[in-house]
């Protein structure tokens, strides 16, 4: 693939809003203020399930007061993130285009579960009262691309708008979509990443399954990277944070036909090999792996097994990072936060959430991995950028 320049980013996370605050948190190892006092639902009902929200998230601070009532939490998270990303990349200043134009800038967003908030709200009315009383202005929110659609309206992004869903791998897959769209001249710049909002339905699901027993927790938030073809980014004099140079994605079936949920080390291995081959990077040159390890034992084990199958002894110092220690599991947004964590690492060389191994000085190449719950996996290679 042609290298893609990351020219900026927006992020709203439990440990910070904006690229600078997020970077500080990754360096300092800051953890969420609270794991067990969600505001979106009564957390005491789910004592086994820790949930870290974006604390005191107030979209009106960024977007003003008008028009917010129609939006759900997922949409607000994404619109704020897009606004931050456009500003950070120098594409917009004070709401006006400074580089690029509405017709040539678009959005590619990953999300795994849609707006369970809106779906549950309408299902409650339909079940406890009658379907004829559901609020028509809330109905579009039940459609999973609505947050992306509203973001295009709020930020006037008209080149294209693509929603992708591949569970925890979606945000990495969004990059491959974006890359092909940019290679074909369909846009000059794309905001690429993912979003996921905290909801009682997700907490209930994980609580019923007892899935978070190993110390994992649920997070929420959104992250969008501004991606542009490297040559274009250079030509406009953009500040380049890092580049993306390779991508891989794979699926492997389980051993037993009856299995539905499993982590596939083979898929991770193939995705990593594909990404490294595309990037023309040798395993020994990978300085760090930003993994999707979240504390879910069987999945983390399979992910590390897949990474080791490629990097093995040659994989630098075997350094594997786990930013989900601070961010929690954010599903469709997780890969986007991992990419931003990797970009931060490559621009300043430090990171706190080391799961394993020793971080090399001045890392130049980072691998990002993501593992789905159904045998899917994706990987990306990021490179340090020096002028």
């Amino acid at each position: 693939m042609n290298p893609l320049a990351i020219t900026g980013a927006g992020v709203v996370s439990p440990v910070g809003i904006g690229r600078a605050a997020f970077g500080d948190a990754m360096r300092s190892g800051a953890l969420p203020e609270s794991f067990d006092r969600p505001t979106t639902f009564d957390g005491t009902k789910y004592p086994r399930t820790r949930a870290a929200e974006v604390p005191d998230f107030d979209a009106s601070k960024y977007l003003g007061d008008k028009g917010l009532r129609a939006l759900d939490r997922l949409t607000k998270l994404l619109v704020v993130t897009a606004r931050l990303a456009l500003h950070d990349a120098g594409l917009k200043r004070d709401g006006l285009w400074t580089a690029g134009s509405a017709e040539r800038v678009g959005l590619v967003v990953s999300n795994a579960y849609g707006s369970l908030e809106a779906i549950t709200e309408l299902d409650r009315v339909a079940t406890l009262e009658d379907a004829r009383y559901i609020n028509p202005s809330r109905f579009p929110l039940t459609v999973s691309n609505t947050a992306a659609g509203y973001t295009s309206i709020w930020e006037d992004l008209r080149a294209l708008n693509v929603s992708v869903s591949d569970g925890n791998c979606g945000a990495l897959d969004a990059v491959i979509c974006a890359n092909m769209l940019l290679e074909q001249g369909r846009a000059d710049a794309l905001l690429v990443g993912g979003a996921e909002a905290m909801s009682e339905a997700i907490a209930l699901a994980f609580d019923r399954l007892g899935a978070l027993a190993d110390g994992a927790f649920l997070g929420e938030g959104a992250a969008l990277l501004a991606l542009e073809p490297l040559e274009r980014a250079r030509a406009r004099g953009a500040a380049i944070v890092a580049t993306i140079v390779g991508h891989g994605a794979a699926f492997s079936p389980p051993e037993r036909e009856a299995t539905l949920v499993y982590g596939s080390a083979e898929s991770v291995e193939r995705a990593v090999r594909e990404a490294l081959a595309e990037a023309e990077v040798e395993p020994a040159d990978v300085d760090a792996v930003v993994s999707g390890a979240s504390g879910l034992g069987v999945f983390d084990t399979a992910e590390l097994e897949g990474i080791d199958a490629v990097l093995g002894a040659s994989g630098g110092d075997g350094c594997v990072l786990a930013p989900k220690r601070a961010l929690g599991e954010t599903f469709g947004a997780g890969g986007a936060m991992a990419m931003l964590a990797a970009a931060t690492l490559l621009s300043d060389g430090s990171h706190s959430h080391v799961l394993r191994g020793r971080l090399r000085a001045s890392p130049r190449t980072a691998l990002v991995t993501a593992m789905g719950y159904y045998g899917n996996a994706s990987a990306l290679v990021l490179r340090h950028f020096s002028r």
């Binding site: 009902k45 579960y113 849609g114 779906i119 549950t120 309408l122 299902d123 409650r124 339909a126 079940t127 406890l128 379907a131 004829r132 028509p136 109905f139 579009p140 039940t142 459609v143 999973s144 691309n145 609505t146 992306a148 659609g149 509203y150 295009s152 309206i153 008209r158 080149a159 708008n161 693509v162 929603s163 992708v164 869903s165 591949d166 569970g167 897959d173 491959i176 979509c177 092909m180 769209l181 290679e183 074909q184 001249g185 369909r186 846009a187 209930l204 019923r208 399954l209 994605a249 699926f251 079936p253 036909e257 009856a258 539905l260 949920v261 193939r270 789905g372 719950y373 045998g375 899917n376």
Partner: protein, 413 residues
């Protein structure tokens, strides 16, 4: 890249042959809703799929894993693979990807989980059902069924999802990331969506009459349309029968309103022109437009404007399969893509049934009530969606598009 196989689960026929017969005959798939009680809503018609039994198409293990939406997708994928005469055991599985569109995916599984929770509290939620919900799952189930080991991806692009998936699948092949992609879309009618469209005042009470002066709105439908796409090299090497060539596709976003198309339709016009240009063609090359044609006042007026603007004085024939199927949401444009292949293969344009009275706001050449024979070398599949999504794909008779096909350099305005 070429379409070498298609599979259909629809309200007007199961399988390609039955579906093509129904399109030729102008059959309606609309009937009173049977899967839930719609009596309080004042609307009762939809295009539900009848006579589809998962057990006829799926293994016992598959039946236990999947919900009804995936079951339709999986059955259609088997039909498509059969139609393509693909032998899964001879495929290089890691070069086979699955890219599907849907709006809500396994909506009935989520609906049941939510119902149990709301009525009985958290402990009433069945643990085993939880992991069976997720928009990620459709391509996973299909990949397992057809033996694919490459990328699996869902494009939840609402009512344009099928076209999005096909376009992205074509890009994967075009950029050398896959040799074969099983693509398309699936959707089912669920009570929440039905109620939502009623409450948006978008649903007709009797008929879906796209482009008609007296049109009252849409009716919902459901189904699955799956296609096998192959690179030219792969298809030719194994001697596959080429059903259609995929030309250019194009996207744009209105950034105007969350449910309504832009009245001036600038984004939609740009997308249609871009898709034609990316196929190395000009508007005069287009023989037929398979319309989005929902039957709502806003959509059909805006879409007519697009066609008049793109084709100038020439009255290109246009038709909406939603008059027969209802609006199959995420699956709509995938079934309409298969309708494009019907046109290329039979030389017939599918009819817009229920068309009685021309609307000056929709001053286009509607294929009214009966299928019409006409030149069928290149057809346009147009689709729009909530979120201001516009998506256009071009299908051509194999071998007709001039190499290099199609151009990869940008022509977007």
């Amino acid at each position: 890249m070429f379409v070498t196989g298609v599979g259909v689960v629809s309200s007007i026929g199961l399988g390609k042959a039955a579906f093509f017969r129904a399109l030729r005959a102008g059959k309606t798939g609309i009937s009173p809703v049977a899967s839930f009680d719609a009596s309080s809503l004042g609307r009762q018609l939809a295009g539900e799929v009848r006579g589809f039994e998962a057990r006829d198409h799926l293994t016992l293990a598959e039946q236990r894993r999947v919900g009804r939406c995936s079951a339709m997708a999986l059955a259609a994928s088997r039909m498509a693979v059969d139609d393509a005469a693909l032998d899964p055991s001879r495929l290089d599985a890691v070069r086979v990807a699955v890219v599907l569109g849907t709006t809500m995916g396994e909506a009935e599984i989520l609906g049941d989980l939510e119902h149990d929770w709301i009525v009985g509290g958290p402990t009433a939620v069945r643990r085993a059902s939880i992991p069976r919900y997720g928009s990620t799952l459709l391509p996973i189930h299909v990949a397992r069924a057809v033996g694919a080991r490459g990328m699996v991806l869902t494009l939840p692009a609402a009512c344009a999802a099928g076209n999005y998936a096909i376009g992205f699948a074509a890009d994967l092949i075009r950029r050398g990331r896959a040799d074969v992609v099983v693509t398309g879309a699936a959707e089912l009618i669920q009570e929440l969506q039905f109620s939502g469209f009623v409450r948006l005042a978008a649903m007709a009470s009797e008929r879906c009459q796209p482009f008609d002066l007296n049109r009252q709105g849409l009716l919902l439908g459901e189904g699955a349309g799956l296609l096998v796409l192959e690179s030219e090299e792969h298809a030719v090497r194994r001697g596959a029968r080429l059903q259609a060539e995929i030309g250019g596709h194009a996207l744009s976003c209105d950034a105007y309103h969350i449910t309504r198309p832009h009245p001036e339709a600038a984004g939609s016009i740009t997308a249609m022109r871009d898709a034609i240009a990316r196929s190395g063609l000009v508007p005069a090359d287009i023989d037929f437009v398979n319309a989005h044609g929902t039957g709502t006042r806003h959509n059909d007026a805006a879409e007519s404007k697009v066609v008049r603007e793109v084709f100038g004085g020439r009255r290109v024939p246009i038709s909406s399969m939603k008059s027969m199927l209802g609006h199959c949401m995420g699956a709509a444009s995938a079934l309409e893509a298969i309708g494009c292949i019907f046109t290329l293969e039979t030389g017939l344009y599918p009819p817009t049934i229920g068309y009685d009275t021309p609307d000056p706001e929709c001053d286009v050449d509607v294929v009214a009530n009966v299928a019409r024979a006409g030149k069928s070398d290149v057809v346009v599949n147009n689709s729009l969606a909530f979120g201001g999504y516009n998506s256009v794909a071009i299908f051509a008779r194999p071998g007709l598009l001039a190499p290099p096909r199609p151009p990869v350099s940008g022509t977007a305005a």
